[in-house]
Symmetry: D3
Subunit: 242 residues, 6 copies
């Protein structure tokens, strides 16, 4: 039996901390911590449409993700300096965007664009799942503010959404991998699920050893439990909106 | 009951055609056709290592994916002209690369780099699954040639690998979506599986309507059948290598 | 006397094959083969003007050219990955564009843009001449379709256009060089000519040994013969349009 | 007489808070707060030389500066997404780099590169002065660690360094401008000074109204006082190193 | 006492030559020479607004600066070939732009953009100060022409502006450094001042040895004298405009 | 009969002025003037090989071409600002490079790179032909210097090389087009020829009206005369080297 840091059980989340209204500059911003992983999530409304929706009357939500150079133990080169966004970043920010769009009504606020920025301050595994979980809160707060300001009539959310990772290390299935675990996992699987327990995204990768159906079922089971806990937490912070 | 083009059943693949040695210029190249989707897959060996593996003694496999501008009904702008590779392309070529690396022994041929190029000539849904399926064949042919030339002692493959998509349209689960189906699907799920029936990649996305565990199980079941057929086909072409 | 592959005479074209309506996705696409050189040419109409012709009432034709990485014996690095279009590509696509624009009436279809995409599947010398020759056919087919759809009243073509290369190897003048010849040629000259036998573009380069007027005259003579054959072929495919 | 927020006097700094060892990932990182301006400064040692110092035996220090999109009241577009580092960022990171290099002995640790990353979490004026002041602390901590690890024999610092801004609004000179002041200032002047009270950088800009020698002298006077305070603070945190 | 080239005194400018109407292509262009430093400055009016001032009714002035590859003793790589504008160039062109904008009324000519191009033909120190000094003349000439053409009613200049450098070498303060001096200076300071003797920009950098208040005062004194001479020269060329 | 500016005859060059040693910074630089067209050509030796010739023992010559923004009557946007070299620039600098390489022995000076920079100060037609003609002189001067410094034993030139344009306007053939002529020409043809009267490059483009063999012959005749004059001029400046 693998021992986890801080005596964590195989099906246990790391300590989750969420600080709402983290920044004074932006009205809706959240510091989300999954153990030592820390991400600042902020939601902003931009009055301009994205180019491909011009003259359609529809809005959009776009997510951007980035890691501070000092967020990792070996310094991560800055993508602005390299002049291009890398493949991993593209993959993650597309995942965050799809996950949040899946629970929004994008037709309710006209040709505007919502930006959800997820900036990783400290990375210890699970930055994409923390980003989705925290990004939802920033988004919900933005919608609440938009309702107050009468930009929308109702809060345009169809459900809550959270995300968690599950992995397999030496044949053992573990919830919410931290970096030291993630780096030796044979399988890494990310789940994005709604408040009503349905799947929005399922992304499993066998880096080393392929997995079978039984293992997948167990991973699904663990993930569903973890996400239930995260969504309870979200409800405490943003209230019952749906 | 949804009707599919050409009277196809819900659990039926489109006609699959594979033309080995498609190009005279490159020794290992394949034209793979999933119905009207046509992809040229080619595998090339480059004697130079990728920068991050310099002086490690290890090799690498990298995949690149691109669509001809005329491969889609509305012309697709060329990424070379736009000056950068888009997020979707990044996502797909990373998926192809991970899928093929998962069945290779990258330590067997020194500090060299294998390129698997997947160029979509005609796109009608399933270009990424066709790319993985055809890319494996080009790769296997390259390894056979490398063995003949004594660059490797044994063919460095641990298993076969194929990929297929499954989707949900109006609550009905369908195998191997073509474009007209894909564009109205509520859920789109891609499976990458080995010859021994295990999962390498599972990527499901609920574009419109979240899905539940029962639906996921049914999608897994359909995908496994489809992939079994594709792997039989691969074996006919490249022979029993593993 | 130099011997050519397949017993070809000094003034003989390689076998020319043209497959009209090659792709199902795009209405006007052509596979053109000059021996082992294979290029997919497609013509597309875009309703938006190019920026520099906005509010002038005039249309434009722009050509793009690219080689598949696997089209050459040594893999060609992808320009999208390198982040910029190289000088040779720029030079060729500008040549194709000028050649086709020279026979069009760009004032007849309003502020629209025609894209002629030339994608080299297999490269064995003469890719630019094959692109112009095949590009004309795709363009003519697009104009026929635009006439049917009443976007233009008359087919806006002033003449046919084809292109061919001539070279000098060891003092011997040869028509339509294939790659093995091209790579050892002292002089390489490309001609673009009309159905009425006039010049649109003449581009001669002495890579190794400068040439004199007498040699230029002989090259002109050979080229004119080759182009006459190509234009007969074009007429068979697109019909008598002018 | 202009009234400042929180009853601050014209010659008073905002509350300065410095949290040493802010991140667990990086050994030397600092959160520096000048009022509501918050910057994470981190110093990292990279074993590779910068290209232009290869084979010279000399080291280098390079600074990078960036603002989180949500750090400003109107969202700041991400430079990685735009594909290039803007002029203002270039200007600031060059200033930080020059300021820190001016107090270092770059010949003492071989052909290595020190990165000082300054990431603005919340921007309320004075981000460049906070970056220099906090960057020095991160750098000093890195040097202490390098001494412990015997990479350097002595701490290669010649002096302390801090920075502060002074501005003129309606003819009144103010120390340490916050954003609301900065945006209406006629003159904005940044000073970088050493522990021994000398100038390293002086950068004054009359955005609206040119200034005279008497005003410059008063600004110098105010800045020197402010910097003295900042350097006392630095000494408390990193100790007496020089 | 340091000896300067050509017996120049510590407080003496190099020979200054200004050739108005240098180019036939552009109506307002100037060749400015500070000793061996030669810069072509040209001012052009563009009818389009800069994007961020669209629909504000205001105009803008933007400066661009570049060095010919052959302008320096070691060839300078071309920024167009490298694909990006470097930090030093950004810094200089922002300085030129701010300096010239500080004396203009940008509200007087509508939503237009003025480009001031400064191209260094030969670099021997002081290229940025020559650019500002010559750029002002090109700008004044452009405004005179705009008045003649009734685009503005009055010449929209609030003052003259010139720039000069001062440096410290071996404790000696010198005016208008040439390259051989600049490269061994401990301190390099650039001043931008108006015809009425006020400061627009002050930028001092201690590359090697920090400087004190007394040295700064002496540098200010020298700079003010130098600038007075430059502004007399400007008045002779463009006339009394203000 | 068309009248040309300054009473020039159809077969007459514009006044050609060549100022050798134009810049003090670079040892080999030339200002070449074809009428109002002014280009600074400079040749520089770089000790590093171009990447593709590393470890081959061979040298290379590369040409770069650029226009000052103010060199044209409508300001030309700077390619460094746009972030990429345009197609026309690529085409021209490749032509200059090929033309000069054709008369050099690149195997005589080891793995070094020669840069020939052609910077257009004032553009009035014929910038590419002036660049080749002047670039040859800068190159010859560089080789003379390399011989003096014993980097080469003999001057590695096989022949002289110059270039000139010929055009057709309203059926009349004219030598050395200036901009006003070029912009209304039906045909524009550039010739690069050697001192021994042979062709290195022939590039003819029918922008508007295709041309026939008789016209081409007349253009060749005119060009050969023009080039003879240019080469006499080159011999006067660089001496008899071959």
């Amino acid at each position: 039996m693998l021992e986890r840091n801080a005596g964590r059980k195989f099906n246990e989340l790391r300590p989750i901390n969420i600080t709402n209204n983290f920044l004074k500059t932006t009205t809706t911003s959240v510091l989300v911590e999954f153990g030592n992983t820390k991400v600042i999530c902020a939601a902003t409304l931009d009055d301009k449409p994205v180019p491909f929706l011009k003259n359609t009357g529809r809005g959009w939500l776009t997510a951007e993700y980035s890691m501070l150079p000092a967020s990792t133990q070996t310094r991560t080169a800055r993508e602005s300096t390299r002049g291009k966004v890398g493949g991993r970043t593209h993959e993650i920010q597309r995942l965050i965007g799809r996950s949040l769009r899946a629970v929004c009504d994008l037709n309710s606020f006209g040709e505007k664009t919502i930006y959800v920025d997820c900036d990783v301050i400290q990375a210890d595994g699970g930055t994409r799942t923390a980003s989705i979980t925290g990004g939802f809160i920033a988004l919900a707060e933005l919608f609440k503010k938009m309702k107050t300001e009468e930009i929308v009539k109702e809060i345009p959310l169809k459900d809550y959404v959270s995300a968690i990772s599950v992995g397999i290390i030496e044949n053992q299935i573990l919830l919410d991998l931290e970096y030291a675990e993630d780096s030796k996992a044979d399988v890494d699987m990310n789940f994005v699920m709604t408040g009503s327990g349905k799947f929005i995204e399922v992304q499993g990768t066998a880096e080393q050893v392929p997995f079978d159906k039984k293992q997948m079922d167990e991973m699904v089971f663990l993930a569903a439990q973890g996400i239930e806990n995260l969504i309870s937490l979200q409800k405490k912070i943003v209230g019952n909106l749906i």
